[in-house]
């Protein structure tokens, strides 16, 4: 009736790490592809100020660093080309809605428009008196305009073809460092400035200044529209705030989990097949503390956190959910790509015009003369309706288990000691204690086995997990076997080592207590606040 239980060590506490949720598995699956030459994937000396993805397939992306804009292929993630015709550091980049043109602003205040493919310099938009930190094409269909913001606290709306500024949008009182075009309208865009304000602009009513003003309460480092166009997310200081612009600019949520300034935001998407659109959209935020966080703004919950070794400056996520790029202040570009199951689209087009059909490989009838005859059916999987008879699991018994079953306690202890697994040795000792036989075993050990035991005790009696039982045992052994230990040099040296280790451990404990004494008043003060 009763089954037999082998001796088991005490359970160890499971790590407090939560098992990965499907979502964090998803975000972790963005890995540096093997075929990229260096790891971390791309390293430039200068900070990566901005990353921009092309809105059309195959979603090439541009990264600005130093006086260059580098365009990477969205397919292979290889560097495609570098535009190096800037007079000063490039600060921002934006693809046109058809992906054919790329606009980039530099610190002199000039905005350059290039052909994304040929790299030919098409237009120079001059007007900003200081660095142009924001440049953005409208995202829906307008191919002729773009807007930019600069350190002169002016937001400009340009007609690209004529290289003319259509009008200046005034209102900010400090550097304009970020902005985004509305995903639903060509005429709406938003800009954020170091004067803590985020302003919504509508070019149709340009004369009346900004349509709406939001106070972020910290210098705004990044602002993006959420895909519905009705919500915006702003980053500045350690916060990311979500605003409802249709509902009159109401603050919906303030996420405060970064420890340093949040530098950049972008939209991400969990590539689940089903579910509502809003369920899949996430805000990716990166910060100078080196963390990238994924925020689910439907549930107002952080669903994933990832740490990078350097301060992060910019982040980008490809619209087809396959690539995630993060740029750091030290010029490293972390390109992560998710492995997508290659669908079998490479259908083999057979030139089957000949009409010769090969014979189907005839199934050989298995005979007992074949070796496979004896292996037949072993890989058979049970079908759904089958009643599965499970073979009773054979209990694996260790050597010491078998000896304990035969009540040969001393041999069991020695067998456990020979296996050199401290957990099982302690488990056997505990079982012997439960049988009240441990001390009798110890007193029956011969010299060699006693040496084995002392060597074990020397190694493990100061390990905190075993110390409670082993230190007491050491005392008893020294008491019980004092004569034997004295008579053997080897045992004496074991005990000497043991003594030294214990003294060392006591020293460590004392210094730890000292540290605890130093810390505890501080903790108490901190708790009072």
């Amino acid at each position: 009736m009763a089954e037999s239980f082998p001796v088991r060590p005490k359970l160890r506490p499971t790590s407090s790490k939560t098992t990965p949720t499907p979502e964090s598995k998803y975000w972790r699956s963005f890995k540096i592809p093997k075929d990229i030459d260096t790891t971390p994937s791309k390293s430039y000396v200068y900070p990566i100020n901005a990353i921009a993805f092309s809105p059309v397939e195959p979603h090439d992306f541009a990264a600005t660093h130093s006086a260059n804009v580098t365009i990477f292929s969205g397919k292979t993630l290889e560097r495609k080309s570098t535009i190096a015709s800037f007079a000063n550091t490039a600060a921002s980049a934006s693809f046109r809605c058809d992906g054919k043109l790329l606009a980039a602003g530099d610190l002199t205040g000039t905005i350059h428009v290039f052909d994304a493919k040929s790299r030919s310099h098409l237009r120079r938009l001059k007007g900003h008196a200081a660095a142009a930190r924001v440049v953005s094409y409208p995202r829906v269909a307008d191919k002729f305009h773009l807007f930019s913001g600069g350190d002169d606290s002016v937001v400009k709306y340009w007609d690209v073809t004529t290289e003319k500024c259509v009008f200046d949008l005034l209102g900010h009182k400090d550097y304009v460092r970020c902005g985004d075009a509305s995903p639903v309208s060509d005429e709406m865009f938003v800009s954020g400035s170091y004067d803590h304000r985020v302003k919504l602009w509508d070019v149709r009513v340009s004369s009346e200044g900004s349509v709406m003003e939001l106070n972020h309460e910290k210098p705004v480092e990044s602002v993006i529209y959420l895909p519905s166009g009705g919500l915006i997310a702003t980053a500045g200081g350690n916060y990311v705030k979500i605003w409802d612009v249709i509902g009159g600019g109401k603050l919906l949520y303030s996420m405060e989990s970064h420890n340093k300034t949040v530098t950049s935001l972008c939209m991400g998407k969990v590539g689940k097949g089903s579910g509502e659109e809003a369920d899949q959209n996430r805000i990716l935020s990166v910060s100078l503390d080196g963390y990238m966080k994924v925020f689910d703004y439907a549930k107002f919950k952080i669903t994933h956190t990832m740490r990078f070794p350097e301060p992060l400056l910019s982040v980008g996520f490809s619209p087809n959910c396959s690539t995630r790029v993060i740029g750091t202040s030290k010029g490293t570009l972390y390109i992560g790509r998710r492995k997508v199951k290659v669908e079998s689209d490479n259908l083999v087009v057979d030139g089957g015009g000949w009409g010769v059909v090969d014979d189907e490989p005839r199934k050989k009838v298995l005979r007992p003369s074949y070796f496979r005859y004896f292996q037949r059916g072993q890989n058979l999987k049970p079908s759904e309706g089958d009643y599965l008879i499970k073979r009773p699991k054979k209990l694996k018994l260790a050597v010491f288990d078998k000896l304990l079953k035969k009540f040969r306690h001393k041999e069991a202890l020695v067998a456990a000691l020979n296996q050199k697994n401290p957990e099982s040795v302690v488990a056997v000792m505990e079982e012997l204690i439960a049988r009240q036989k441990l001390l009798r075993c110890v007193s029956n050990l011969d010299m060699e086995e006693l040496g084995l035991l002392l060597a074990f005790l020397q190694k493990y009696s100061t390990v905190p997990r075993y110390a409670g039982i082993l230190t007491k045992l050491v005392n008893k052994i020294v008491e019980l076997r004092a004569d034997d230990i004295r008579s053997s040099d080897q045992l004496r040296s074991h005990v000497r080592n043991l003594k030294r280790d214990v003294a060392e451990e006591i020293r460590i404990q004392e210094s730890l207590l000292e540290i605890q004494g130093i810390i505890s008043p501080m903790l108490r003060i901190a708790a009072k606040r």
Binding site: F5, T18, R435, Q436, G468, L473
Partner: protein
């Protein structure tokens, strides 16, 4: 009326002729169980004391008659299928054992009339005066069952104390064991009132504990206290073979115990495998095998010719009886943990078990906090009994059967060993979905004591308890005095003698829907202490808003959610051992024991004592709904009305918390097993519930019998 917790193993059971029923002596009654389902089908009620023997009349399969004998001195004849009492014979001596040899070799006389039926009873002589200095208390007498009287003048033996009679499979011999010798009588084929018996004695150097007769040959097996099995072959060659008659029971003078030389047997072989006392010896029906069993809980099957052994290990408890059935594939093993196992003899596997409430072993270690309590879930009448073999048994009092067992500690149980690991505390949540247990391992000369707190969650579909969290040494090395689960759930408290109590919470408020969820578990939520005093008891109020923890002599009241001390009340002389909130009322009852015991009722609204008694409360049980509670008092000096209580007698006093005058009182007498206190606990809990039932149904008298200890309560106020 509820009866519960009967002992199934006080006497050997008996199979019916079709092997479909098993007749088990259960206290004053004989219970009939179905062997195919393991459930009780009938009960034979009528005896007034413990039934000691049940003998099924061997006949065709349709006839269901049996004889029973009891300590009340009566022999009864039943039709147990009906069930119906057919006949009663009163011999006025407590019968400890009875055999009826002539049932086994029935012969019809020449005139076709059935001969008289004779039984041999091993009875206890109740002497009025001290006649002999060496008082022989047991005697074997002969009883004519047909004429319903004892056969005068026939006294086969007088012994110091009555025991059991063993009968050979075809009724040819009967034997008794008497310390270090066996006495065997041959029963003549035509038994009548005046007949002479041939008898022999066999001697051994140790006390004999078991005896068995070979079915066909003159082979006798006996087991002794050291675990040896002796096989005598060719027993009684001289005595039984020749026709010379030796008569008279008293030829004991030349008897020299321990000398085997003059035994009337060919040879005597000794087998020694058992390490402790042999309790069971049984020859298989063909005589080729001998089954033996003892304290180790291992059934050994010996091949009689070669002495080869086969084992059926890990039965879990000392074996007491092995009974074979008319169906050759079925037999039963009675174990000391109040369990009858039905065994398929061919494959040596257990088919099912019939189990009563597991009694605690008599040798309870006297270690602080090592006793074990029984907890009750009053809503469904299920009690959880921590048993010796590291299991908790769930037993339904309403259905009077075991529901399940939960293995608490993954350890092999060796019955008969000294108990060093024990499940000593169990607590259940009110809905029964959460269980917490504490197991303690005793140290060996100060090394390696371990207290483990475990939390279990009941699966929603499977109804099985799954281990949720294990906490080693929750209060460092200090023992845990009590655990309690909050009635509203998801919180538990453990109080320790080391001077602190810990509040544990389930990390996820609701149990996870999918049981594979790994993060569900219990974590320490708060640690509290009061002036470093040992915390001796803890209880939650019925709405879960107040946690009361007894800090030795005072009661501290805490808010379990906010971890704040609400109030400190009381100042008893002795440390408080029990705390309990009375139902949904605002009263708290505390009990302290020792030289100045006290039972006090505290009002939670006024934070002061309402009333108090100097009572040594053995157990307290509170009703769940109204403000009544019951107290069991076991005291030698207490005088209730005019009646003075004897030792091992006690009273159960039912109080309403609002009033110091008891509502009612029952006298309980405890017949046997003085150490068996936990049965009383069961009883108190029982009474509280019964009381509420009896009020509804208007029952005047309540009679409850519990297991070996039989209580005869009567209402005196």
């Amino acid at each position: 009326m509820f009866t519960g917790g009967k002992s199934f193993v006080s006497s050997p059971p008996a199979f019916s002729n079709d092997a479909k029923r098993l007749l088990v002596c259960t206290g004053n009654t004989v219970s009939v169980f179905s062997t195919s389902t393991g459930l009780q089908t009938n009960e034979l009620e009528g005896h007034e004391a413990q039934v000691t023997s049940v003998i099924v009349v061997p006949a065709s399969k349709v006839l269901n008659y049996c004889w029973t004998a009891s300590l009340d001195g009566k022999i009864k004849y039943w039709d147990f299928a009906a069930p119906e009492l057919m006949k009663t014979i009163d011999i006025r001596f407590p019968i400890h054992s009875m055999v009826i040899p002539s049932l086994l070799n029935q012969t019809t006389e020449s005139n076709g009339k059935l001969p008289d039926l004779f039984s041999y009873v091993y009875s206890e002589v109740v002497k009025q005066k001290e006649e002999h200095s060496n008082s022989f208390r047991g005697q074997i007498q002969k009883c004519n069952l047909t004429k319903s009287r004892l056969v005068g003048g026939v006294k086969l033996a007088e012994t110091q104390s009555p025991g059991s009679i063993t009968i050979s499979p075809y009724g040819k011999y009967i034997g008794v064991r008497e310390k270090r010798k066996l006495r065997i009588w041959e029963i003549p084929e035509k038994d009548s009132e005046h007949v002479c018996y041939k008898k022999i004695r066999l001697h051994h150097t140790r006390s004999i504990t078991a005896l068995a007769f070979h079915p066909t040959e003159r082979v006798i097996a006996a087991g002794d206290v050291t675990g040896r099995i002796l096989i005598w072959r060719g027993v009684g060659l001289q005595t039984f073979s020749n026709s010379k008659l030796v008569n008279g029971p008293n030829k004991d003078e030349e008897d020299r115990p321990g000398v085997r030389d003059e035994d009337d047997a060919d040879s005597c072989t000794t087998w020694h495998w058992h390490s402790a006392q042999v309790n069971v010896l049984f020859f298989s029906s063909d005589g080729a095998y001998l089954y033996s069993g003892g304290r180790e809980g291992v059934l050994v099957c010996w091949q009689l010719d070669s002495g080869k052994k086969k084992f059926l290990p890990r039965i879990g408890s000392p074996l007491l009886y092995f009974i074979s059935s008319p169906d050759p594939t079925l037999s039963s093993i009675s174990c000391a943990d109040n369990r009858i196992q039905l065994l398929r003899t061919t494959s040596m596997e257990f088919l099912r078990s019939i189990s009563g409430i597991k009694l605690p072993s008599s040798h309870l270690a006297t270690y602080e906090g090592f006793g074990s309590d029984v907890v009750v879930n009053p809503t469904d009448g299920v009690i959880a009994v921590p048993a010796e073999d590291y299991r908790v048994q769930f037993y339904s009092l309403f259905d009077d059967r075991e529901i399940q067992e939960v293995q608490i500690c993954q350890r092999n149980h060796h019955p008969g060993d000294e108990i060093t690991v024990k499940v000593n505390l169990v607590a259940l949540s009110r809905d029964g979905s959460t269980m917490s247990t504490v197991e303690t391992r005793l140290p060996e000369e100060g090394i390696g004591s371990l207290v483990t707190l475990k939390f279990w969650a009941r699966g929603s579909q499977s109804k099985q308890f799954n281990l949720s969290t294990v906490i080693y040494e929750p209060h460092r090395e200090a023992g845990i005095s009590s655990i309690a689960v909050r009635p509203t759930g998801h919180m538990a408290v453990s109080s320790s003698y080391g001077g602190d109590f810990k509040v544990w919470v389930n990390r996820h408020g609701t149990p996870p829907k999918d049981e594979t969820h790994q993060n569900a578990g219990w974590t320490c939520h708060a640690v509290g202490s009061y002036k470093k005093k040992p915390m001796t008891s803890a209880a939650f109020s019925s709405d879960g808003s107040v946690l009361a923890v007894a800090a030795e002599k005072v009661i501290t009241l805490w808010d379990p959610d906010r971890n704040t001390l609400l109030a400190v009340i009381g100042d008893s002389v002795e440390p408080i051992t029990t705390l309990s909130f009375v139902g949904k009322s605002d009263y708290l009852v505390s009990a302290s024991r020792g030289s100045k015991p006290q039972l006090t009722i505290w009002s939670m609204s006024k934070l002061c004592a309402t009333w108090s008694y100097r009572l040594d409360a053995e157990a307290i049980s509170c009703s769940m709904y109204n403000s009544t509670f019951a107290v069991l008092v076991l005291s030698e000096q207490m005088v209730v009305g005019e009646a003075t209580l004897h030792p091992h007698e006690g009273t159960i006093v039912l109080f309403n918390a609002e009033n110091a005058v008891p509502l009612s009182t029952w006298l309980v007498s405890k017949v046997a097993l003085p150490s068996n206190l936990h049965l009383v606990h069961i009883y108190v809990v029982f009474v509280c519930n019964i009381y509420s039932f009896s009020r509804i149904s208007g029952l005047a008298a309540i009679s409850v019998s519990i297991s070996v200890s039989i209580y005869f309560p009567r209402i005196i106020t």
